[in-house]
């Protein structure tokens, strides 16, 4: 009698799961199928496929299928549509800036209880910036997937040609500004520095690092008002303004990434950028240094996450098992070695693979150490994208010389106060 009931239950389970349509896994006969959506290509795409294969080979009860959803820029649209349509994956790679929005959908799994009941994930081993990025109030909306930070990447040859010594860890803003000016030569169309000026988050987050160094904050502690128009903010904005409109030492990139090609062609001397750009500089003998700063050398980190979506208990548990495995120190270090991504856990530095990693990727150790300078994080709010847009417009106007720092920041602060008051 019990056996036939079980049989019927299994049959029903198959039918129900089978009706999931596309993008869905299933649970049948003991083995759980889960689906993972990602945007990796080339080396990373192959590395991910390898990892999945290894996992499947060593975990007979779970089968993970990885699917490329195209460009990660469109990931949110795809996920939203999939959720609305009722058929969505179990794990999906999303940008960190979408954490607060994903936290609002009931389909996103709150990982906090899972962490509490399963300490083997060793949550505090992840860098502080990553943990902050996925924490929305009481919820934890994802598992860290990627971490990076901004450092100073410079062209050694251009420094040599100008007879200048390389940037040191003690560089101040004045040192930086003076160096950029000396390295700018209109006759050869060479610039000392480059800045992404498309008014997007790319424009804002470099400013954030300078703002924090100067002791400022983006919002007040209660997150009810803007705080970036403080003297610290004005100081940071003035540095940008002076370099762009007075020294003319800054190449303003309009968001299409040409700055990377220009740096590679020896037309730009210094960049504030992260590890992801390094493979685009095959022709440059580059050096890496921490960001210049007056009292401190704080930087900013841009973590991305794996968000788990709820497709029922069995699949959720399977997804959790996979993520624990994938982000474990040994596996994560394998991933870093294959792709060049920074370690997502502090303990990865102690693994035997770590020296191989630093040997393979020139200068990467500076980035890893720099993660310790990522002390503050951007606010994790559903309205963050609007805040970012207001700030981006202000910084763009300042860099183009169309507005004065205090005035532009004040106006943006007003907009942000309104945004915060309305909630979302």
């Amino acid at each position: 009698m019990r056996r036939s009931l079980l049989f019927v239950a299994a049959l029903l389970l198959v039918l129900v799961a089978g009706c999931g349509g596309s993008g869905s896994g299933s649970s049948n006969g003991g083995r759980v199928n889960i689906v993972l959506w990602h945007g990796y290509v080339d080396i990373e795409g192959r590395a991910l496929a390898d990892e999945a294969k290894r996992f499947n080979a060593t975990h007979s009860k779970i089968h993970v299928t990885v699917q490329n959803y195209g460009n990660a820029d469109y990931a949110l649209q795809k996920v939203l549509t999939a959720i609305r349509g009722g058929s969505y994956p179990d794990i999906v790679y999303l940008y960190g800036s979408w954490a607060a929005n994903m936290a609002r959908t009931p389909k996103a799994v709150d990982v906090a209880p899972l962490i509490k009941s399963d300490p083997s994930i060793n949550w505090n081993d992840f860098w502080p910036a990553e943990r902050q990025a996925v924490t929305v109030g009481d919820k934890i909306v994802g598992v860290p997937a990627l971490v990076d930070n901004l450092a100073l990447v410079y062209n050694k040859k251009l420094f040599d040609q100008a007879g200048m010594s390389y940037p040191t860890a003690d560089w101040t803003w004045d040192d930086f500004r003076a160096a950029a000016k000396r390295l700018t030569d209109p006759s050869t169309k060479q610039f000392g520095w480059a800045y992404v000026n498309d008014a997007s988050e790319d424009t804002v987050w470099r400013f954030d690092a300078l703002l924090w160094q100067a002791g400022g904050d983006i919002l007040t502690p209660d997150q009810k008002h803007a705080a970036f128009n403080s003297p610290a903010g004005v100081a940071a904005a003035t540095l940008l303004q002076q370099m762009a409109t007075v020294d003319h030492s800054v190449y303003l990139d309009n968001g299409n990434g040409n700055y990377a090609n220009l740096f590679n062609s020896g037309k730009i001397a210094m960049l504030f950028t992260g590890p992801w750009d390094l493979s685009g500089f095959p022709d440059v003998d580059y050096g890496i240094q921490i960001l210049p700063g007056n009292q401190n050398h704080q930087t900013i980190s841009g973590p991305d996450q794996w968000v788990m979506l709820d497709n029922g208990d069995a699949r959720r548990n399977a997804a959790w098992t996979f993520l624990k495995w994938f982000t474990s120190p040994t596996e994560a270090m394998q991933w870093s070695l294959a792709t060049g991504d920074l370690p997502i856990r502090a303990s990865q530095i102690q693994t035997p693979t770590y020296p191989k990693y630093t040997a393979k990727y020139k200068g990467i150790a500076t980035f890893v150490d720099n993660e310790q300078n990522a002390l503050k994080a951007r606010p994790v709010l559903p309205t963050y994208n609007e805040i970012s847009q207001a700030m981006g417009q202000a910084i763009q106007a300042i860099l183009l010389g169309k507005a004065q720092p205090q005035q532009a920041l004040d106006q943006a602060a007003q907009e942000v106060d309104q945004i915060l008051a309305q909630g979302s």
């Binding site: 009931p106 299409n256 847009q389 979302s424």
Partner: protein
Amino acid sequence: MIQRALGSDHLAGWLFVLPAVVLIGVFGILPIGWALLLSFQHNDLLTAPTWVGVDNYRTLVHDPVFRDSIRRTLVYTALFVPLSVGGAMGVALLLHRPIRFSRFYRTAVFVPVATSTVATGIIFNWLLEPTYGIVNFLLDKVGLGPYGFFQDPDQALYAIVAMTVWGWLGFDVIIYLAALQGIPEDLMEAAQLDGAGRWATFRHVVWPLLSPATLFLIVWSTINALQVFDEIYVTTRGGPLRATTVLVYYLYNQAFELFHAGYAAAAAEVLFLITLVFSVVQLWLGSRRVHYSS
């Protein structure tokens, strides 16, 4: 017999259009109805929506960024339509009469239309780059510039006009070539036998006979111009300083970057009304001026 013929025209007419009406009804009209409902909600597509009546519309009216985006869209349209349709007519006339290499020229003119927006964006970014681009380089040789193009808030929209006219001209040319193909050769000969010069032949024979195609292209180009998005997305992203934030860009930003889908739907309805008014007026004016078959 005439009565019967007229009577069954109704049945035949509806049978002929039925498949199209059903398909467009399901895939066109239904989604638009849903979008209309959406415009009466606060909806971020992730959580449960709330009904807010005409609140979104009221906010739109007071939104300076929205009003500016309408203005920019109209400016863009007022430039794009005459340039692309007029230019295309000129090019089509050049290509219509037998000429060597006509096949090559026609293919060349068509290439921009077939090129993906991504590739177009990349190449125009390169051409119009203020410091390193080839256009400023050439202009400098004749003592002009340098211009900011995509990086200058006062020039960006016009640069977009140039880029999109370049991208769409070939499409209009094809339509005109097909239309010119339908002008009977003996009409042209008759006009010339009567002593009409080239300009007069054009004005009194070609232009009127091209008018159905012209009407089509004006209506079609207007609808498209009012919805321009892709080219802006791959180049200026609505900037600098919002100079190229046209209506659909604003709408996209609201829906998919700020999660105000209901608000975006309301903006879309406003766009729909504007487009509808334009099209109806154009078609009505056209019905009086357009010359159909002899």
